[in-house]
Amino acid sequence: MERKGFFGRLKEGLSKTRKNITEKMDQLFKYHNEVDDELLDELEELLILADVGVSTTTKLMDKIRERVKAERIREAQKVRHVLKEEIIAILGEQEEFNPRYPAVFLVVGVNGVGKTTTIGKLAHMYQKQGKRVLMAAGDTFRAAAIEQLEIWANRVGCQIVRHTEGSDAAAVVFDAVQAAKSRGIDVLICDTAGRLHTKKNLMNELEKINRIIDREYPEAHKEVFLVLDATTGQNAVSQAKMFKEKVDVTGIILTKLDGTAKGGIIIAIKSELGIPIRFIGVGEGLDDLQRFDAQAFVDALFDEV
């Protein structure tokens, strides 16, 4: 009986959360004309539900409370603006991401986050800009990963360097770099096998691949993109930390933002590790990649797109 009551209450509560955040925000501001604790608590809840994480949420809320006091903010509406401002301050003003050519992108991340698909989209984006693009099929581990990338290369109409499944990933990247140089490629994009950041030997392998690019192609502009799935919770921080440690991640690509997850964890990651967010994935098609825009991201966080 007791258990049932618990589940019952829970279900009720959850259907509340399921209503999207706009409704919640609207309600929030309808019922709270003035700033009070309840309003602040609800804002905090919104951030947690967006996967911002407890510590970054707490930091943000402290800041909000401080500003509410210092700036004598009375209106509830104003608090929302202040919160957005603070998040944008963390994410940073949008500097254009403009690589120098020739460029090499190494794309890394845990399993299934969308690395290969993102490479297809990236290749398409640069190809459309008139760049010569080459893909390196660096996932020699997962079943049919090479075929998967090859299909994307065909769709995009770009070149690809591939070996066979089970071969050495570092060798693929080595060959791809040589090919990029001799064929006058503008953008070389290297796929890698998905790996959990806690697997030491796999992370070492990645380090080796990264070193090969540095050694063989020092004149190229290198970017290491960490792909994160927006559905991921607090573990994304751990992922970013460990990948940064091993291969010096220079940018984040946040995928699957077309779902209901908000990807708030990137706020924590930017705040703790300072890695800029470069692109977002919003679907499975070739054109479903957008440059990251902090303002738009924050608007979406509050469902104001």
């Binding site: 959850l14 407890v54 299934g112 998967q148 030491k200 559905t231 919770g233």
Partner: protein, 445 residues
Amino acid sequence: MAFEGLTGKLQAALKKLTGKGKLSEKDVKEAMREVRLALLEADVNFVVVKDLVKKITERAVGQEIMQSLTPGQQVIKIVNEELTALMGGTQSKVNMAPNPPTVIMMVGLQGSGKTTTAGKLAGYFKKQGKNPMLVACDIYRPAAIKQLQVVGQKVGVPVFERGQKDPVQIASEALEFARKEQRDIVIIDTAGRLHINEELMEELSKLKSQVKPHEILLVVDAMTGQDAVNVAKSFDERLGLDGVILTKLDGDTRGGAALSIKAVTGKPIKFIGTGEKLEDLEPFHPDRMASRILGMGDILTLIEKAQASIDEKKAQELERKLREQQFTLEDFLDQLQQLKNMGSLTDIIGMLPGVDVQKLSAAGALNEKELVKAEAIIQSMTPEERRNPSIINASRKKRIAAGSGTTIQDVNRLLKSFEQFRKMMKQVSSIEKAMKRGRFRFPFL
């Protein structure tokens, strides 16, 4: 590792309760703040956390402290009991059809691990003497069919595919084929999709009414955050799930999604995926998941893991020694060698409760190179020294360092980390013992 400090915090908060006769509301509230934090940082859904904390608080306040427990232990016991109960008392099995074939349908978001898990399940059933078959119904993702074929081949299970044809059509043909070929289990791999994609969710509904699966399993990435409830609820409302498989638990995620999903759907978690290899599929243990979410370390898994890679007789001997606290450097050497078979040292130590992996790493205790050194040092000791390290004085240290090609500092460091290790092992053994007696005892409380 983002959460390493958590265990400590929880312990610290609960320590304050020690030495009181009854749990006051204030005490419990204070402890609950840490529990709430722990749960949220583990990605348990906010609403689930709120309800759980409320329930635990109600239960804990005013409780007499059982004679055998300290107040802190009492609270941990309640928290753990509630989490375990919520996660489902016992593990459940897959529904088998009275008249084969049993049809299993795998569903989930993109990238959650359906294809690999389908292959693992097929391998799992094959090992049980069943005659499974895989069906490729992911007609969308590039090379998904090929991936399933490779996976099927690796586990020696045939894969039925019809290219990019309509999945509903493929599945019904597959069923016919399975009956003809006397396949008793049919596992259908479907394309990953968003729970809000009306068209693709409708495709699953149709697939369901066509093949009438005995088991619809939702495959969920254990690293999923707050959104897990929305996903699970949508799939359940649309299809009526029979169970959940949690994947990628071999990482350092606390896996709070497990709790959220169980709480909203009430559906059991039937298996967990713990690696990329096709045999890395394990039955789900609610109690272990509870302690993982709370960051209390996965003691039982550790012990099982140790037993799987250490041979039976040695394991028993080790267990005895641990209990009797007779663990020597000789055993340590043995352990170091065995540890290599168990996987990364950091992974293993991370499973111990109350162990701050970061601190240990910083202290150099987990450096694999150090291990090689450690081996050399112990090998340069006499049996007497290995049994009783307290006799190792300055001149002995000098000899050992010379013999192993290391320095006296190295020898000192090893002796120190042996002491640490012994302390950790002491924790394991006392907690395990307590668990066997059906009661939680934390040595640090």
